[in-house]
Structures are given as structure tokens and as C-alpha cells.
Symmetry: C2
């Protein structure tokens, strides 16, 4: 008899309006179940061709290639604006997420003189925490850490309780990198605004996975990467968002020539334009930037609504498999069960998570490991099928049930 979960997966895939998008990606090993598209998204076929042409343009057009390359950051920004629920001219590619977080955090703090507190949460992504602590140390500010549940994420009321008129900036991840818990972006933004603070969102794990609605939420500032669900390629440039009315108010601290009015006039004084361009710094890496643009276009074409809907059916399906198969084997679901409270990945706690990850890879399922003791399974909606989840979780169940993971080395020092 056919496993009813498999029958369901096949039915879900047959009804999937995004099913055709899988063909837009290079898939060299169809037997591998890739559940790490939230670390590095797959290679789009169009990007392979775009990069071939870009390399030829470098060789053939030489310096004149820049006529086509200079607008790429803005072009990608406008494509991403559609994915993020923002307006054209509010988003641009620039630097890395970390550098952008620094730029916008400092700009926001400068715009709230007299306030001396940054609010973040203790479950925030490492680079966010380190950068905020560094800025606070340099400026003599207090970092107020909201307690966030490592599995259930951040509660809006806990953020609200941390707000007062000393708070200049609230900086949080929209989707938590471990649990996949989704913060309530509109509610947190509104609460911060009531206290006169600005909010800077890290969208790395939500861009291309959930509907963000920056404009609808009157969001102030955001950053995020393009190499996860947006399929921009390894280390592709990050994006930053600044709401239009803040653009000529905020001045970012790294005053590079790409953020200068009439850049090539090379004038004596820094005069940033009143646009998103003032948040640019130096010469952007164009090969990686072109890949970011091409990748973002696919999500834009699919539409973030259908993409987010598929993320919900994928995570829901995987959760039910986990309940049925994995919980009895000592796993614990470490992601919120409410679909309105999660992104597009599932976190599973297990004391032998590291060994289970290695065993899964040996059996051609690619998960990720996040300390402490979590397997992280990412479901990139554009190319992940429900049947992939069935296959992947079947292999995980069988490994755990037969202790096959115990033959793999235990977690290395430093990753505990």
C-alpha cells in the first residue's frame, strides 16, 4: 500500500502552481535532496548564461561595460522591492548584509541624538549581535537584549516591554536563523514608532520566503542577503532598504564615492544625493551583482504571494512528517507550529544533531547544522517539492531508527 504521506506529497506537487519553476534551476544530481537553499540557493539556468555574457562583456567592452553595470544595483533593488513589498527606489544592492547593517544602524543612531539604547534579542544572528555590540561599545550606548525563545522566537510584548524614550534603534531578525520563527514586523514596527525609535530589520531568512510588506508596515530600514531564497549565488551582494522619506534624512557613516552626487565629477566635498544611492559606498562586485539581479528576477516573476503560500504548505507538510516519524525517535520540533509564525525552514532538535547531519549528507540529503543540537531543514519554495521532503525525512527517520548516524564522528570542538 502506498504510504499516505507519499500520496499526499504527490498530490500537493501536482497541484503546485510553482512546479514549473524547478526547471529554471540547474539540478545536476536529481537523487540529492537539497534542504539548504536557505544557506545557498541553487544556480538559475538564466544566471549561468548571464554570467557567461558578463565575462564576455568584461573581455570585449572593457571599461565601457560599466555603462551597463552601473545601474545593476538599482535594477536589482527595484526587482527586490517587489519581493519585499517596498516601492521602487527604496532598495539597492550594496556590500554585505553585515556592512549594510552597520551603515544603517549608525545612520539611525545619528538620527536619534540623545537616545542611548539599542534593542535587539539574544537569539539574533551572530553578525547582527556582534555589530550592534561593536557600535554600542564605540558610542557608549546600552544594548538591551530581549529574551527570545530559541524555538518559539520573539514575542512582540517582550519587545514592547523593552521600549522607552531612551531607545534609538530596534534591530531584529524577521525570521530567526535557527528556529525559523517569524517576528511580527508590523506590530513591532508600530510599537517602536510609538516610542520614537527606528527599526532595522534583518530579512536574510525571510526575503523570498514570506510576504514582508515593508511599505504596508511603514517599515523604516532593512537589510538582507540575496544568496539564500533569492538564489543570487555564493556571497552575492546584499540589499538594503530605506523608506523614501528617510532617505534624505539619514547619512550613513561610510562616505564612499558611489554615494556621492555626480560621482565622476570627483568634487571636493561629500554631497550625498537625496536618494537610496547615498547608502552605496565603493565599487560593487559586478559578476556577483549580476547574479543577484538574475536570481531575484525569478522570485519576482513567481510572485512573493505564491512563493510564501508554498512555503506554508512545505513547512506544514514537513511538520506533520516530523510529528509522525521523528518525535517518537527523540527529535523535537524547534520551530513554531503556527504557520503565521514561521518562515520557510524547519528546525529539529536532537542531541546527536551533528552526527545526523553527517549521516544525512552521506545518504544524499543536504541539511544544515546549527548549534546547539539542531538540524535545520530549508525548503526553498521555487525548486523544493513535497516529494523531496518525503524522501529526505524518510532517510532521516531510517537513519535515526537504525542508529546509522552513530558511526559518524561527534561534533568537533568549537561547534558545540
Amino acid at each position: 500500500m502506498l504510504d499516505p504521506f507519499l500520496a499526499e506529497a504527490r498530490a500537493l506537487d501536482a497541484a503546485d502552481p510553482l512546479a514549473g519553476f524547478r526547471d529554471d534551476f540547474v539540478i545536476t544530481d536529481p537523487d540529492t535532496v537539497y534542504l539548504d537553499g536557505n544557506s545557498l540557493g541553487r544556480l538559475p539556468k538564466a544566471t549561468r548564461e548571464t554570467l557567461r555574457q558578463a565575462v564576455d562583456a568584461w573581455g570585449g567592452d572593457l571599461i565601457d561595460g560599466w555603462h551597463a553595470w552601473l545601474p545593476v544595483g538599482r535594477e536589482a533593488g527595484d526587482v527586490l522591492a517587489g519581493v519585499l513589498g517596498a516601492e521602487p527606489g527604496e532598495v539597492v544592492l550594496s556590500d554585505s548584509t553585515s556592512v549594510n547593517l552597520y551603515k544603517l544602524a549608525v545612520a539611525a543612531l545619528d538620527a536619534r541624538p540623545g537616545r542611548d539604547v539599542i534593542v535587539t534579542d539574544d537569539d539574533n544572528f551572530p553578525t547582527d549581535r556582534y555589530i550592534l555590540e561593536g557600535i554600542a561599545a564605540a558610542r557608549g550606548l546600552e544594548v538591551r537584549r530581549v529574551g527570545a525563545d530559541i524555538d518559539e522566537g520573539l514575542r512582540t510584548e517582550d519587545v514592547e516591554a523593552a521600549l522607552d524614550d531612551r531607545v534609538a534603534l530596534v534591530c531584529l531578525s524577521h525570521v530567526a536563523y535557527r528556529s525559523g520563527a517569524l517576528a511580527d514586523l508590523p506590530a513591532v514596527t508600530a510599537a517602536a514608532h510609538r516610542h520614537g525609535a527606528l527599526v532595522l530589520w534583518d530579512l536574510c531568512h525571510s526575503a523570498g520566503a514570506v510576504e514582508i510588506g515593508l511599505t504596508a508596515a511603514d517599515a523604516d530600514l532593512a537589510v538582507g542577503c540575496t544568496y539564500k531564497y533569492l538564489n543570487g549565488g555564493p556571497g552575492a551582494p546584499a540589499f538594503l532598504y530605506v523608506r523614501r522619506d528617510l532617505q534624505d534624512v539619514l547619512v550613513q557613516p561610510i562616505r564612499g564615492w558611489f554615494g556621492q552626487t555626480d560621482q565622476f565629477a570627483m568634487g571636493p566635498d561629500y554631497r550625498p544625493p537625496p536618494t537610496i544611492d547615498r547608502f552605496l559606498v565603493g565599487t560593487p562586485p559586478m559578476l556577483s551583482g549580476l547574479a543577484a539581479l538574475e536570481g531575484a528576477r525569478i522570485t519576482a516573476r513567481a510572485g512573493i504571494g505564491p512563493v510564501a503560500a508554498k512555503a506554508r504548505t512545505l513547512t506544514d507538510y514537513a511538520l506533520r512528517l516530523a510529528d509522525a516519524w521523528l518525535t517518537p525517535l527523540g527529535f523535537r520540533v524547534a520551530t513554531p507550529r503556527d504557520p503565521a509564525r514561521r518562515g520557510s525552514h524547519l528546525s529539529l532538535h536532537h542531541p546527536a544533531a551533528w552526527q545526523l547531519c553527517q549521516a544525512l549528507k552521506a545518504e544524499r540529503v543536504v541539511p544544515d547544522h546549527r548549534p546547539p543540537e539542531r538540524l535545520r531543514l530549508g525548503f526553498a519554495p521555487l525548486y523544493t517539492r513535497h516529494t523531496d521532503l518525503h524522501t529526505g525525512l524518510t532517510r532521516l527517520r531510517d537513519i535515526a531508527a537504525t542508529d546509522r548516524h552513530l558511526t559518524f564522528p561527534i561534533i568537533p570542538q568549537g561547534l558545540t
Copy 2:
């Protein structure tokens, strides 16, 4: 009768020990004389293949590709160390030149508490000036600008006169972006050290063009781009150099996770390693980074000694052509005549420089324009022949002699 200058060019090319390196580059239009390799270097053939393989690795290896990609910044850094006269472990690829300049300038200022002056020169590249002014404004410091001659460059004695025990940081370009004038890096460094200041060099226009000798000069800090003479491709990641004994003393301000000990342990506190890695920030753009590595390898293989020697014969030859052909037509050489005082480009002042640039491009010579009223001709030693300079300057002479440039539009507003 053969033009004696052409005969000389042919003889110089025939004797050129680097002549074979031209074959390492993609040259799609052999009739074009490309004199802008100091804005964007040519595409190496090896890079075209490296990028094809990297795109395939993204598609096929997916997240596992990072095992090969993570070390690229250090690998490129070690290759570049040889080109810059530094030691392995003192150089790494990271971010853009502008971001690196910011990081190292702030780190240096933090290491000189109580001092409140930054010394730079008024001829420094725009991004350097803007960034230093921004840092100074944020910290309440004074920027002391040394007067530099726009054609002859910076005099060491003028830098020395600006030094006192208030100076925390001296930040200068090694080769001036307009004139090509070469600052005396060892002498300026020694003078700054006598006053207890640190020196941060911008090597954008000297890396891959002249012998820099960072270790020999006991240089403190440096940054530079890889997309000019180092042929790393459009916007390829920049490099930064920190002398080894300063590495565990300096803390840079953007505390990203790539600058963290045991990065993937994602620990609670920022603990930067005592190495060059602490100057990294976020996830690096790998396609552009691999191109930077491949490009740097060619200069390393050629050896910076022979490369710099060829830069001298190229600039010397071009200067003599300019004296003979162009000065009588109203041009003025705007580059130092002493070969020990210049990099690998030649600047020519002419009131109609913009129109002359456009006319040259129409006749397949690619120069650059730099306000005010300068043509900038870059001679990338790895692929530029003396006969190319003969062809290019012949066309320039003939254009100017017959006023063919006057049919081109005058300089646009904003670029004067």
C-alpha cells in the same frame, strides 16, 4: 623612412621579457589600443575558465562549494602579499577599497587615543577624502590637508611639516589617481612613525604597477583594489594589509561574523582572532573573489620587479612621444618626469581633454578623462606594448593637429 619612434617601440617590444604575458589575456579587438587598464584591467583567459568552473561548482556542489571558497580571500591575500612586498598572512581580500579604508582608519584612530588629527592631502582620491572627512566629523577630529601639486604630487617634506604629536593617522594614496605621481612611501612612513602616528596607504594605482615594499618600509596599513593592474574584474573585492604585529592590537569597527573566532560556533561574544581574519566582515562575493585571485596570480607569476621595470620603460617612452608630438599642440605633461616619482600612467593636460577623449574613443584608442582637463593614459605592463603607445599617441597627435576633436560635444555639466 621608418619613424624612429616606431623603430624604437618595436625594439623595446622585441626585448620585453614580459611580452608573452599578453597571450594570457582575452583580446577581442586587436586594433583597439586600450589605455584604461588602470580603470578596469583586461580579462585573463584563465579567469574565464575559473569562472565557468565556479558557476558549475555552485550548481553542482551547492553549499559544499564553500569548503573551496572560504579560503579564497586568504589565498588571494598571500598571492597579493608577494606583489606588494608583504608577508603571507598580512593581506586578505575583503569588501571594497572604500569600506576597507573606513575599517582600518577607524581601527588606527582607536589605537591612538588622545590624538585628534588625521593627515591626508588635497589631491587624494575622492572616496578617501570623503571617508576621512566623515570619520573626522563623527569623532570630532581635525583633517589636516597637505597641499599636493596636481601634476607633481606630494612632497615628503610637506607631509613632515604637517606631523606633530596630535597626529593619529596619516592616510595617503601611494600613486596619485590623476597625475600618477608616486609618494615616497618609506620616507613618509618613517616620518609618521617618528611622530607616533600610523600610516594607511591607498595602493589602488600602485598595486601591480610599481614595487611597493610594504615590509621593507615597515608599513602599518594599506588598502587597494584588484580590478586595475591586477585584472580582477569589474568591482572585484579589494584587499587590505595589516602588518603582523598590529593584527592583534587593532580592532576594526564592523564586527562581522567572518571576523569571529570559530565563526560557525556562532558564540555569544565577538572574539576576533589574532590574525588578518579579524579584518573580515560579512560573506564575501565569491565569483568576483575568484576572479580577483586568478588575476593576481598573473602579476605574481610575472614578478613585480619585471612588471615595474616595464612600467618605467612604457611611461618613459610615452613621455618622450608626448614631448615630441603633443606639447607643440597645446598639451602639457601632468605627470612627474622622474621615473622614480611616478606609477604606470601618464596624465596630459589639455583644455579640450574631454573632447579629445571622445575623439580618441571614436578612433579606437581608450583613454580616461579626469577633471580638470586631463587625459589619463594607463599602461598596464602585462599586456601593453610600446607599439600600442606609438599607435595611440599617433592617433591623438593627428586628432589634435587636425582639430577632429572639435566635432565632439563639450564636457557635460557636472564633469568640469
